[in-house]
């Protein structure tokens, strides 16, 4: 190799927040597999055979990104937990606390998100957040370097003020075998693009006790639903309209009833709605609710379902300024298989 002495990767940024936001979105397990390419990073987290979450981190999130390809793929496993903790060492990459605690995560046995850490000194963080808000916004800059296989991933972090610097040496491991089932675009049964907001609100409303979530889509111009005798005229009209344009529906069954959320295929709701035949699949709600955190601060969501029921959700982050046409500022992808239909 000619460039044997050069590090495989050097990436720099003056604000780690977009990076931390993407990584936090897939923080459902402690460890993640990171793959480096010319296009940036692909960080993958997998729950055995059931769920696969990938963060596509493009190079435009960095002020500089130098990649010296290896003959073999530049892939390693690391602790996502620790990486997020490092990025937040100065407190400038934390999750913006707000309505982000989803109903499902607060009522079910508390699942610890990567990077959240044991809540030991939490009240202390609060007054720090308060004090950092008062002053002008602080940012953490980063320089990430990886010399190659067998080396630690080293990260240098500093506040832009003349404050302290932090170096992190993250252990890298041989990557675990990934399933990463591919989504077959040819075999698509449903393709929807809409604003994240719409979808996030829906996830927020789902009953905490539900165990399965059913997605249902009707193509436009299906037969009118059965006339319900005691329905009001306006609700009949609504049903008729929806049947005509087609609609997408999220159904969640909980202990105290069923929640149904309807999204008609209207221009202001759907950016895109491709559905030829009626589609109906159910998914594990604990997996589905993981999307909630990922949707935080995102702009668009693209939902695709294969004919087999395999679901692929892509979540797009707001574009940063220097993105060329067709580029993106980070995409989170979640893939999961449908549950067996129960009788």
């Amino acid at each position: 190799m000619a460039n044997q002495d050069l590090p495989v990767l050097v990436a720099e940024t003056n604000d780690v927040r977009p990076l931390a936001r993407l990584l936090r979105g897939i923080g459902l397990r402690h460890n993640a597999v990171m793959e480096i390419s010319e296009a940036g990073f692909a960080v993958t987290v997998e729950e055995v055979r059931t769920l696969c979450a990938i963060a596509w981190i493009p190079t435009n999130l960095f002020t500089s990104f130098t990649f010296n390809p290896l003959p073999e793929p530049a892939t390693f496993e690391l602790s996502l937990d620790a990486l997020l903790q490092c990025l937040n060492i100065f407190g400038n990459a934390g999750s913006t606390v707000g309505a982000s605690t989803s109903t499902s995560s607060s009522s079910k046995p508390k699942r610890r998100w990567a990077g959240e850490g044991e809540v030991a000194v939490d009240d202390e963080n609060e007054d720090y957040v308060a004090s950092s808000r008062k002053g002008k916004e602080k940012r953490t800059g980063m320089r990430m370097e990886w010399k190659g296989p067998g080396y630690d991933l080293s990260i240098l972090l500093s506040d832009d003020s003349r404050g302290p610097t932090t170096t992190c040496e993250l252990r890298t491991l041989e990557p675990e075998e990934l399933m990463n089932a591919q989504f077959d675009q040819e075999d698509m049964a449903l393709y929807i693009i809409m604003k994240s907001e719409w979808f996030r609100d829906a996830l927020f409303d789902l009953p905490p006790s539900c165990t399965r979530i059913t997605l249902l889509a009707n193509p436009p111009k299906e037969a009118m639903p059965q006339h319900e005798p005691n329905a009001t005229i306006s609700s009949n009209g609504r049903h008729r309209h929806r049947a005509e344009v087609g609609q997408f529906k999220i159904i969640a069954e909980g202990d105290f009833g069923t929640t149904e959320l309807d999204y008609p295929n209207d221009k202001e709701v759907m950016d895109k709605f491709d559905c030829v035949k009626r589609v109906k699949f159910s998914y594990n709600s604990s997996h589905f609710s993981l999307l909630h955190r990922a949707l935080h601060q995102s702009v668009k969501i693209c939902l695709q379902i294969e004919k087999s029921g395999f679901l692929c959700v892509q979540i797009m982050m707001p574009l940063s300024e220097n993105v060329e046409v067709g580029g993106h500022s980070g995409i989170l992808e979640f893939k999961m298989h449908a549950l067996e239909e129960d009788d």
């Binding site: 602790s79 030991a120 992190c168």
Partner: protein
Amino acid sequence: MRFRTAISNVGLLHKITRSLAALARSCVIRLSPEQVHFIVPGNESSTGVQVWSQVKVATLFDSYKIESNANNEIWLELHLDSLLKVLRSADSSVGSISESRSTAALTDSDVTLKLNKKGQQPIWAFEIRGYTAQRKAMSITHEIPVKILSPKRQAELNEPLCPQPDIHVVLPNLLELRNIVSRLSHVADDVKVSANHEGRLELTANSSRVNLTTTWKDLNVPTATSADEEQEPPPPDQMFTVSVAIKGFLKFLTSHLVGGTAIACICEDHCLIAYVYIGELNEAGGVLTFFIPAKITDD
């Protein structure tokens, strides 16, 4: 045995008590004619952190009168929780607890403290006097039980002996430091504190997943005041290191409330000593001294 004083700086006393309450449940207060000593012996706190502090009487008190037949000194022990409750009330009455005056604030208020006896039980009686918003005179009295320490018990309390520190360094802002250390606590149980004479301070936390090192540069390194030993000065880039429990370190960092300059001394493999100065360094109204025992690690 008589003791009576007005508390002129309720806010500061409140802050000191809060920092001590983070460490232990009870504390020994040694009152002498010139100084007040707050002492948290090592066996009181779970982390082995000790506090031996001295504050000038004038920093906290006014019209201070003390008499006893033991050098006019009184040693007493009290529960920090109960003291904290009283001071919170007094502090809000005086209105110094926050910039926006609380509705409970009294005007022209003053707080006095007396050592009394209720039956056989010695008590500290706090009296808060002032005027309500309607200009009505108001007086609030709190009494907390205290324990007078016998001379025998007094003799048992000894400041820990430490070797000559290897290095002194002025710490960065304690709040900033605490926030970083509290994040390190998610990574590891211990933190390595290292410093050298170039003013470099490093905090290192190691775990199986990640090694984290936070570095400050160009901190002040006060030169040793006692020039009694003519020793060869160590090379300026030689790092002196001590490992301490993050829990214990964080407890000391609660003293950021007191808000003064802090100096850390490293006694390699022995302890970390931190001095938190009350007020400006040169006209020190007092100093809180924290002894944080070293953790002996394998490496």
